[in-house]
């Protein structure tokens, strides 16, 4: 899922300072699962903002909505009947959703209520960790299902660097060395032959190095 963290309330209050009528828009997708932008978070944020603004003597009217997904046009379209009654949309979807709102409703400012994080997993209740950087050229079949791009701080492709000490990465003792994880896993799978296979240079043009990416599926159009 795409993860995120709430923006500090002071930052949001500054953002919405010019407005008296706003929409707080959540998303039932990833941000609901990581507890930062779903229906409950819309309610908490809207309540917080109303209290803060009223206490400061500047009351605000807030419409609370939660869309199925803010990254799909048909759901964003659901805001069209009322969007012009409000001065801004404070979205607590991921950065993709916030930008899609901005693209679809050009006359209404879209404001970010969260800081979008990474593609990750729920390790336990309330704790999420990065697993994928969307490099566009997956090698997990060679690395025991552990991503060297994401789990190695340097995104190395041919084993651990000198900063790997007793299974830990030099960036922090709480960070396991990605390559140690890969080697341990390959050993347990009896796939160490994958470790010694020479791999060609990775083409980072499928990653961010090629600029903003686009997928076109002719069979789906």
């Amino acid at each position: 899922m795409i993860t995120g963290t709430p923006k500090p309330i002071e930052e949001i209050l500054e953002m919405i300072d010019p407005y008296e009528r706003i929409v707080v828009a959540g998303c039932y997708g990833c941000v609901t699962v990581c507890r930062v932008g779903g229906e409950k978070e819309v309610q908490v944020l809207a309540s917080t903002l109303r209290l803060a603004r009223e206490t400061a003597g500047k009351k605000i009217t807030i419409k609370e909505v939660c869309l199925e997904r803010q990254c799909d046009p048909e759901y964003i379209e659901q805001m069209r009947p009322y969007i012009h009654d409000y001065q801004a949309v404070l979205s607590i979807a991921c950065g993709a959703g916030i930008q899609f709102l901005a693209e679809k409703y050009t006359a209404t400012p879209s404001l970010p209520g969260i800081n979008t994080g990474f593609l990750g997993v729920t390790e336990r209740q309330g704790e999420w960790a990065e697993r994928c950087q969307g490099c566009g050229d997956c090698v997990l079949h060679l690395t025991g299902g552990i991503c060297p791009v994401t789990r190695c701080a340097k995104s190395l492709f041919h084993g651990p660097c000198g900063g790997s000490v007793q299974g830990h990465c030099e960036v922090g003792k709480d960070t396991p060395c990605g390559w140690q994880l890969i080697i341990d896993r390959l050993k347990s799978l009896d796939q160490m032959d994958n470790y010694v296979k020479l791999k060609p240079y990775k083409g980072w043009n499928t990653s961010r190095d090629g600029g903003p990416r686009r997928i076109v599926r002719e069979d789906m159009i």
Binding site: I9, E10, V44, S47, L51, A52, T55
Partner: protein, 92 residues
């Protein structure tokens, strides 16, 4: 919890079962964490984090419940009305 403050509460008590004795196993532990979050929110918007507190009681502790209520009400009285209620009163 925040809605209670919007509806005019000067303080909010959240009462759960005794820790380790929750029907939902960790429900009251999680509730404590949620209360701490709301306290931080109230602090950040200058209403005051001390206006919300979590208490743990069993269903058989009536006297203790009354004592907790008296204690918390006393604390909230000392704090005075919530800043949002002060604004509302001045505007009326």
């Amino acid at each position: 919890m925040l809605e209670a403050f919007e509806n005019g509460a000067d303080g909010v008590m959240v009462i759960g079962c005794l820790e380790g004795d929750c029907h939902y196993l960790s429900g009251n532990i999680r509730a404590r964490a949620r209360v701490a979050r709301v306290a931080a929110i109230l602090e950040s918007i200058r209403i005051g984090g001390e206006r919300i507190r979590m208490f743990n009681l069993s269903a058989g502790e009536g006297a203790k419940f009354a004592a907790y209520v008296n204690e918390f009400v006393g604390q909230v009285r000392e704090l005075g009305p919530s800043p949002v209620n002060v604004v509302r009163k001045n505007a009326a």
